[in-house]
């Protein structure tokens, strides 16, 4: 049994409940014990725009919470994962900054050493748990489906920091999909951004980015799109209707978190995976129960 601190960040525990539900449901079946970090806060990454020191302090604080419990940290959000990785590497290179941050952490009886390993959903499933172990737990392979992969910018870039997959040719999500029976292939828009990080001040541009990506995937005949980023999922699934209105096209592409797809393939009760909260038409897929069936 591997214990991991479940560091949810901001967007997952305040609105992307389907991601959290499927994480809590699926990962324990792979012998992972998720430990809640009750005292955690924002990872600080969104504040890079405002004040870099605050970003480092918040990241170090969240990692220090894990160090106190003596466990590694699992951040399902790529933006958090990148922020934490950047802080970890910067503090390793800069002992003076580390001391300065530790003097602030002391006020809460916390200390940051830098001993915590960081995981994201992608490397946790693909590299730690492994494809064989996943294949063993598949009960109902999703053989009839062809899905496109959406990695999220911060999952793969920048490559001067340790990222879960290759920056220009990531394939782990495709391999994970194939392991549960789903067909997939590369498409030209695969690395395109969803616009999520400018939604608060450039709403229309952000929705246009999302809409164009959804339209491209839909036009190429995929049955759906698989995500591993809560910001991307929020744009491509939760806001799919607004994106359609913004670009003036009709969009009806099922979008699911990979871990939801995995849960379905493992035969987990679908209501436990938060599938009712996907606002794209996921029940167009035969494998997915309609809302009425789920109730």
């Amino acid at each position: 049994m591997k214990e991991l601190g479940l560091y949810l960040g901001c967007v997952i525990p305040t609105e992307q409940y389907g991601y959290e539900m499927s994480i809590r449901e699926v990962l324990p079946k792979f012998d992972i014990e998720l430990v809640d970090l009750e005292e955690s806060t924002c990872c600080g990454a969104p504040l890079r725009n405002v004040n870099m020191f605050t970003t480092m302090y918040l990241s170090a604080r969240n990692m220090a919470l894990c160090e106190k419990k003596g466990i590694d940290l699992y951040a399902p959000c790529p933006i958090c994962h990148l922020g934490l990785t950047e802080a970890k590497e910067s503090l390793e290179e800069n002992p003076e900054l580390k001391d300065k941050i530790n003097s602030k952490l002391e006020e809460e009886d916390l200390q940051y050493e830098g001993s915590t390993e960081l995981y994201h959903t992608l490397d946790l499933l693909h590299d730690e748990i492994g494809l064989d172990e996943i294949e063993d737990q598949v009960e109902e392979p999703l053989d009839d489906l062809t899905f496109a992969a959406h990695y999220g910018c911060n999952t793969i870039r920048p490559n001067d920091l340790d990222r879960p997959d290759d920056s220009e040719n990531p394939q782990k999500l495709e391999e994970l999909m194939e392991t549960i029976g789903i067909g997939t292939e590369d498409y030209p828009e695969k690395l395109d951004c969803c616009g999520g990080q400018v939604i608060s001040d450039h709403n229309e541009s952000a929705l246009t980015k999302a809409g164009e990506k959804i339209e491209a995937v839909q036009d190429q005949g995929f049955d759906g799109l698989s995500t591993i980023c809560p910001w991307g999922h929020r744009m491509l699934d939760s806001k799919q209707d607004s994106a359609a209105d913004t670009i003036g096209e009709s969009l009806d592409l099922p979008v699911m978190y990979y871990i939801q797809l995995l849960g379905v393939a493992m035969g987990i009760e679908q209501s436990r995976l938060g599938l009712e909260l996907n606002l794209s038409p996921v029940d167009n897929l035969e494998a997915i129960e309609s809302i009425e069936e789920a109730e």
């Binding site: 305040t14 409940y17 969104p46 725009n49 020191f53 602030k104 450039h202 996921v282």
Partner: protein, 176 residues
């Protein structure tokens, strides 16, 4: 000091020059002596077509010392933070990090920053997260809260006041 002031100055304003040098010194690691304006960053920039962000021009202007001009501009706030510019720079430079540094300078100088970021900052200072837990809809248009879904309470520091105080002080600090 603006672009126009700089180009129309008959006599060099040493005090201003010093200020620029100082600012540049702070940005030294990121600033782009080595940028040869190939424009690869801009060709892949996710915000170029819709929001007219041109990372190569930001690099060019920083190199020429027009920091104030950039700090006061709206364009630095259009970056989608996709990191493609850094990834694809043949000189291993990082326009996105220059843009972060410029935004930090804008905040430190008390410039008006876009309301979305302002709100985010206030929320983190207030309760530790960029937003409060929301009631969401399901596909049948019914509302769902965390507790309806058997999810535990959202994490929050036990002593939020203390964290708030530390954060307030932290925002006054500069990284370099």
């Amino acid at each position: 000091m603006s672009l126009i002031d700089l180009t129309s100055m008959a006599e060099p304003d040493e005090e201003e020059q010093e200020k620029i040098e100082e600012t540049l010194e702070g940005l030294k690691e990121d600033i782009p002596d080595l940028c040869y304006q190939c424009g690869k960053c801009t060709s892949g920039c996710e915000a170029f077509i819709l929001l007219e962000l041109e990372p190569h021009s930001i690099m060019g202007k920083s190199k020429a010392g027009f920091i104030d001009e950039l700090v006061n501009s709206d364009e630095i706030w259009t970056c989608m933070q996709c990191f493609k510019c850094q990834e694809r720079c043949p000189q291993d430079l990082s326009p996105v990090r220059v843009i972060f540094a410029l935004k930090n300078l804008a905040v430190a100088a008390g410039k008006e920053i876009p309301s979305g970021y302002q709100k985010m900052l206030q929320s983190v200072l207030g309760n530790g997260l960029i937003q409060q837990p929301k009631e969401v809809l399901n596909r049948a248009n019914e509302t769902r809260k965390r507790e309806d879904l058997d999810l535990p309470p959202v994490p929050e520091p036990e002593d939020m006041d203390k964290v708030q105080q530390i954060l307030m002080k932290a925002t006054q600090e500069k990284l370099r």
